[in-house]
């Protein structure tokens, strides 16, 4: 009896399934007409053709979390922002050993440009985003000014930070990274209560680095690359400490030094690119 039931069920499914019409597979491929806009053509040749990066500068809301609020970029400033990325982000990698291969293999498929900061519901702002190695969102394009050190540093910090996320998303964090300063991380949503000094004493390059292991890694990489005072601020021990704060800064530096060494080794082993070489090329540009 059970066999009969099973056969009847099978028959029902077969009949139901056979009701569907065959879907044709010979659909015509949709041809998209290429834009004759000079900006679009620049993006096509300098980003899409060379590196496979699609640059989204026209506002599309699905690129932004519905809970966030942003303003789109000023069209007339997009080219300037892209030139900045070419010079400060892409060129330094192309100039170092294995850099071009690394860059092309890891670069995200999309860069989304936002004119303003990303405004969050809790009153904070987001400077940039990296999503699953596929997309980097850059903010503050409407303030583009490569003669303004504040803007330049913030942008470089964002782009290197987000690019670093792609590396650890691909290769995981360095093996011992999470054991270096495990007690210094902050509880969710409280990193911004720390000062730079407090973060340093805990063994982090910034308060934001205390928010998670991944952010710690990305912040460390970003600071290695953009911060011309990186070694003085975060690595070199002060010899003549006379107060407790100085001693605690040195303790923090010892932890950051461990992170620095493991990050450099991990990056070289996995990607073939020496971050210090990249740093040197970047610092030459200032």
């Amino acid at each position: 009896m059970k066999i009969l039931n099973a056969l009847l069920f099978a028959l029902v499914f077969l009949i139901s399934g056979s009701c569907y019409q065959e879907d044709p597979v010979d659909k015509e491929i949709i041809q998209v007409e290429l834009s004759d806009d000079p900006l679009d053509q620049f993006i096509q040749t300098e980003f899409l053709d060379k590196y496979g990066i699609a640059v989204r500068y026209r506002f599309v809301d699905r690129y932004v979390d519905p809970a966030n609020r942003v303003a789109p970029p000023r069209r007339e400033l997009v080219r300037e922002a892209l030139d900045f990325l070419l010079e400060f982000w892409i060129e330094p990698y192309l100039q170092v050993e294995n850099g071009e291969e690394f860059f092309k293999a890891h670069v995200p498929g999309e860069i989304v440009l936002i004119g303003s900061f990303i405004f969050n519901d809790d009153g904070t702002v987001t400077l940039g985003l990296a999503e699953s190695g596929a997309r980097i969102t850059l903010t503050e394009v409407n303030n583009v000014d490569d003669t303004d050190p504040v803007w330049v540093i913030r942008q470089l910090r964002t782009i290197y930070h987000e690019f670093a996320h792609i590396v650890h998303q691909r290769y995981n964090l360095p093996a011992n990274f999470q054991q270096i300063s495990p007690r210094g991380y902050t509880s969710p949503g409280s990193w911004f209560t720390l000062t730079d000094e407090e973060a340093l004493q805990r063994g982090y390059v910034s308060p934001y680095a205390t928010s998670s292991f991944n952010e710690d890694y990305a912040e460390t990489v970003a600071h290695i690359l953009f911060d011309d005072d990186f070694f003085e601020t975060f690595i070199d021990q002060a010899d003549d400490c006379t107060d407790q704060a100085c001693i605690e800064r040195n303790e923090g530096r010892a932890l950051i030094r461990q992170k620095f060494n493991t990050v450099i080794d991990h990056h070289t082993q996995n990607t073939g690119v020496d971050l210090l070489e990249v740093r040197a090329r970047i610092q030459e540009k200032f």
């Binding site: 039931n5 009847l8 019409q21 500068y57 809301d61 303003a71 789109p72 970029p73 069209r75």
Partner: protein
């Protein structure tokens, strides 16, 4: 029983096995493309584009916007909106008609609309993404904000005539912006202007919000002094050619004179000079008229509400971060100079028998105790102008053993009193700006 059920399903399945008939003649993709194309055609159809009277939020005024959609993706936006040095008189951006839950119109680049949208950390509730609603029998296109979290703004695009460009009051907007930004005293936060009736004994004290396009009538006086009465009236306005039209008229009898102020007409803008801090400064003056009565609108440092500030309470505090020089907070510098200080304190106790006037700092000492390091002063209050003559010694309250740098405290006390002292302005019932025009420093005090 079970076999009977299965057989029923089997027979049902066989009966259901017939060709699916679409209720539409075209595929979903084709219908979406057609709908997008239709809306694009509607948008580009009017030869003079569209005129939009845009009120992004209820408390704001209305902005006249001319929209000219080109075939392709260019959109020309013309407004009479100027804010500070930035104007949005004529812009060309790209637009997109798209499909999500319905048809939507997206302004893809930064524009007048996104400028409004990003105000107040993008919480102002303007918009640059719109859901299409319908076309009215008059040929207007109706859109609704896609991003307002509730009560979405409705926008009505009306076909524009060739003359509608005259609706834009760019010259007035530009002159008004110059006037409101007060070249002579740009770092005074408080907005206070004087409107004098030329043929009547009547003076109003107004404030404007240039961005929101609102005007507030705060005080009316029969003789242009502190005599008169407080008014609490604010109305959004729209600029039309050379006038601002109030959304809500001010209808009231003041000192026996019945007024119905529904618009202010603006004439020429001119300069006048005055002395401040031993310097001759230039300020702006508008010749205006209200209901055909000639009036003058001009910059002033006098605020009749500010004149009464010190009568209301006797203790005020100003957090270090709320000390501004040239429009920027100098809180960090104060923190460094006056170690342990949290706020500036102002005592203004007018007791007949035991008056106490003092200015100084609230300081947390290293041992956790608090010292209030004050200099008593003799005040001279003239209208809303307060001048101070300090005592030669400090008065200490609470922990009188606290150690502090007197010279560094004096630096800020002198900044307060320097030259002609401070002008007092009422921001709201708890907030007061005290502005030293000689060194362009603002102290924003609260009362306790």
């Amino acid at each position: 029983m079970k076999q009977l059920f299965i057989l029923t399903v089997l027979v049902g399945s066989l009966l259901a096995c017939r060709e699916h008939e679409s209720i539409f003649e075209k595929s979903a993709d084709e219908r979406v493309a057609e709908a997008i194309s239709t809306l694009e055609s509607q948008l580009t159809a009017p030869p003079n584009g569209w005129v939009l009277r845009y009120q992004p939020v209820q408390e704001s005024g209305t902005y006249v916007v001319l929209l000219d959609f080109e075939e392709g993706d260019d959109l020309r936006i013309r407004t009479d909106f100027q804010f500070g040095e930035e104007n949005f008189f004529d812009q060309t951006i790209t637009y997109r008609v798209d499909n999500s839950l319905g048809l939507e119109l997206i302004f893809e680049n930064y524009s007048f609309f996104s400028f409004l949208y990003e105000q107040n950390n993008a919480s102002f509730l303007a918009e640059y993404e719109f859901d299409y609603v319908n076309e009215t029998p008059d040929g207007d296109l109706v859109f609704r904000s896609k991003t307002d979290p509730s009560s979405p703004t409705t926008l009505v695009f009306q076909p524009a005539s060739a003359e509608d460009v005259n609706l834009l009051g760019r010259e007035l907007s530009s002159d008004l912006s110059t006037f409101l930004n007060r070249e002579a005293i740009p770092t005074l936060f408080s907005s206070i202007y004087r409107l004098d009736y030329q043929n009547q004994d009547l003076t109003f004290y107004l404030s404007f919000n240039e961005f929101l396009r609102t005007v507030s009538f705060n005080f009316v006086s029969p003789d242009g002094t502190g005599n008169g009465r407080e008014i609490d009236f604010t109305s959004p306005y729209i600029i039309r050619e050379n006038e601002i039209i109030l959304e809500e008229p001010l209808t009231e009898n003041y000192f026996g004179q019945q007024l119905d102020i529904s618009a202010i007409q603006f004439g020429s803008i001119s300069n006048f000079t005055y002395n401040l801090c031993d310097t001759v400064l230039t300020a702006n003056r508008f010749s205006t008229s209200i209901d055909s009565a000639p009036t003058i609108l001009e910059n002033t440092l006098f605020d009749p509400l500010g004149a009464n500030v010190l009568e209301q309470v006797d203790f005020y505090f100003c957090l270090n971060d709320n000390i501004f020089q040239n429009g920027r907070s100098i809180g960090d510098q104060v923190n460094t100079d006056v170690e342990g200080s949290l706020a500036m304190l102002l005592y203004y106790e007018e007791s007949v028998n035991d008056p106490f006037y003092a200015l100084g700092f609230f300081i947390v000492n290293e041992n956790g105790t608090v010292t209030r390091a004050l200099r008593e002063f003799t005040p001279t209050l003239d209208g809303n102008q307060l001048q101070l003559a300090y005592d030669s010694t400090f008065t200490l309250l609470q922990d009188t053993t606290g150690v502090f740098n007197e010279a560094n405290i004096d630096k800020y006390l002198n900044m307060f009193a320097e030259g002609e002292g401070v002008y007092l302005y009422k921001v709201d019932d708890e907030t007061y700006e005290m502005y030293n025009s000689c060194n362009e420093t603002s102290f924003v005090f609260f009362h306790n």
